[in-house]
């Protein structure tokens, strides 16, 4: 029986395996080819794109499209704005939500449950809800066209998910560690910052990745609160750039590639962690 079982898969599986692999490869090509095509056309000039063979490799690699996108197209400015807004938002989300997540899950106070419920409700609120009220407030405060007009909402809308993820990690830390720290004379701040926080590093990177993706790619607030070109982030900048360079696909393609490359690099470096954080973001019960 054991030999039959061993032999059976060897004879029957190949055809099925080949079909299955062919299917999986076909899906992989579908998922990836549009991006490869984008990379190709970012290196072509108009005559090559418009001559009809849009699908082929560039005849010669026009890196000057990238240079032009960066200088004339202001992509460098948009890029810096996106990096700044995203970085500050990530840092603030991490500081605020780790402290709050800790206080809610590990410290003793009457309203901790209620506070958690209120914050987690925020995960269900679409950003559409806040668009007009925030626009009015920012306008009245003269904060439109400032980095804060994006950072503050990004932080606020990032908090619920971050508190959720960090909170569930804090819950898994053994009580004994905190007790030992306190017995050794640590106060609450030292216990939190130098004992507990380093233990939840995976959760911190999960939250950082999650916040990065949502801030880096956000459009609705960015297009509403910022109209000064020098303050625009990549998503908005790309929209206006397409208007300006409507007939120069190569340059637009280069701009789109510059927007995309950082995300792809981060993904290829941290691919397991990124996938985990996307799963963690979903499993909120």
């Amino acid at each position: 029986m054991s030999t039959a079982e061993m032999a059976l898969p060897k004879r029957t599986i190949p055809i099925g395996t080949i079909l299955l692999q062919a299917f999986l490869i076909l899906v992989a090509i579908t998922q990836i080819y549009p991006l490869i095509w984008l990379a190709f056309f970012s290196l072509k000039d108009n005559s090559e794109i418009f001559s009809g063979d849009v699908a082929n490799l560039p005849k010669q690699f026009l890196w000057s499209n990238y240079a032009k996108a960066l200088s004339e197209g202001h992509v460098l400015t948009y890029f810096f704005n996106s990096v700044f807004v995203t970085a500050v938002s990530i840092i603030l989300v991490l500081i605020l939500s780790s402290m709050t997540g800790y206080a809610i899950t590990r410290m003793n106070w009457k309203l901790s449950g209620l506070t958690l419920t209120i914050i987690l409700l925020g995960m269900m609120v679409p950003i559409h809800a806040a668009l007009l009220p925030l626009f009015m407030v920012l306008k009245n405060l003269g904060l439109l066209n400032s980095y804060w007009s994006l950072i503050i909402p990004y932080v606020a809308f990032g908090i619920p998910m971050a508190v959720f993820i960090l909170g569930s990690f804090f819950r898994g830390v053994p009580r004994e560690l905190e007790e030992a720290a306190v017995i050794d004379g640590c106060g609450i701040y030292r216990t939190f910052f130098s004992i507990i926080l380093p233990l939840v590093r995976p959760a911190i990177s999960t939250v950082a990745i999650f916040t990065f993706l949502s801030c880096w790619n956000e459009l609705m607030f960015a297009v509403t609160f910022i109209n000064k070109e020098s303050m625009q982030t990549l998503t908005v900048g790309m929209m206006s750039m397409v208007g300006t360079y409507i007939t120069q696909w190569g340059i637009i393609g280069a701009g789109l590639m510059i927007t995309t490359i950082p995300t792809i690099i981060i993904y290829l470096l941290l691919n397991k962690q990124v996938q985990k954080s996307m799963i963690a973001g979903a499993v909120k019960g």
Binding site: T17, P34, A130, W249, L256
Partner: protein, 290 residues
């Protein structure tokens, strides 16, 4: 000593208050403000006139608004009946120890990470009537009679604007479902194998039922995602041609920032919030999980 450290009132205040303030000010209070605005006839200048539920009456009688709701329902239906089954198929295949599992999982997920603005621009180039990739491919395989202006005409625009979303998020649902399938204990599959159950039978009778919690999450995400969709439509078609691809969020945006009808726009935003909330509650009520 423990108690005094862990119920330190000052520390709790320092840890919680800033977060709570920013969260309430930016996320919670605006919901109430939007609800209030939605009862006004207001162009943003001066004080608005209170008109009760008139904006909501208009929302449910105006053909343009109803059409946008119809479109988002079609988006939701396409997500449920096309995107989720495809993702499930891929997840089940990848979770069954096929060769290259990790590679495929990584590749399928890449579009999820890319900004929707980039994806919309990219697909508008793919769909371009004169030089686009899609028409070129059709010509190369001898189907040039099918080549057309995909986003420019009424009959193809809606389906053409749905495909990029499908393409972008298949990897996300696949990953969630894959994680769900992988978390099922291997013993159950061993037992099924010993009983002689085929792969397909095992999938339908064991794997899928056990994946119910994650399938529910995917269902909620895809429906809410369809109701909230904004970036893609805004960049790809702007709701055109002739409102054929308009969805509530783009209608809300143009109502507020192009026609300055702040009250009516707020009514649409309240509608979107309620729609998402109700759907989540319904799905949670009808699909019970532990």
């Amino acid at each position: 000593m423990m108690n005094s450290v862990f119920s330190n009132k000052t520390a709790i205040t320092i840890f919680v208050l800033p977060t709570l303030l920013i969260f309430c000010a930016i996320v919670l209070v605006p919901i109430f403000v939007s609800s209030y605005y939605s009862l006004l006839d207001w162009n943003g200048v001066g004080k608005g006139a209170y008109i009760g539920f008139h904006n909501y009456v208009e929302l449910f009688t105006d053909s343009r608004a109803l059409n946008s709701m119809k479109n988002s329902l079609l988006f939701a239906a396409a997500s449920i009946f096309i995107q989720l089954p495809l993702s499930l198929l891929l997840a089940l295949i990848l979770a069954s120890n096929v060769k290259g599992e990790g590679f495929y999982r990584t590749v399928y997920f890449i579009p999820v990470l890319i900004s929707t603005v980039v994806i919309a621009q990219l697909w508008s180039k793919i769909y371009n009537a004169d030089y686009g990739l899609l028409n070129t491919l059709l010509e190369n395989v001898g189907l040039s009679h099918l080549a057309q202006d995909w986003l420019g005409q009424k009959k193809t625009a809606l389906i053409a604007s749905f495909i990029p979303t499908l393409w972008q998020y298949i990897g996300y649902h696949m990953l969630l479902m894959y994680a769900g399938a992988k978390s099922i204990s291997q013993d159950i599959f061993e037992a099924a194998k010993i009983d002689g159950a085929s792969r397909v039978r095992t999938a339908f009778l064991i794997t899928i039922p056990l994946m119910k919690p994650v399938l529910k999450v995917c269902l909620v995400f895809s429906v809410i995602g369809a109701f909230k969709v904004f970036d893609l439509i805004y960049v790809l078609t702007g709701g055109g041609p002739f409102f054929t691809t308009e969805v509530p969020s783009t209608l809300m945006y143009t109502t507020i920032f192009d026609t300055y009808r702040y009250g009516y726009g707020s009514a649409i935003s309240v509608f979107i919030i309620l729609e998402c909330l109700v759907v989540t509650l319904i799905i949670n009520k009808f699909i019970k999980t532990e």
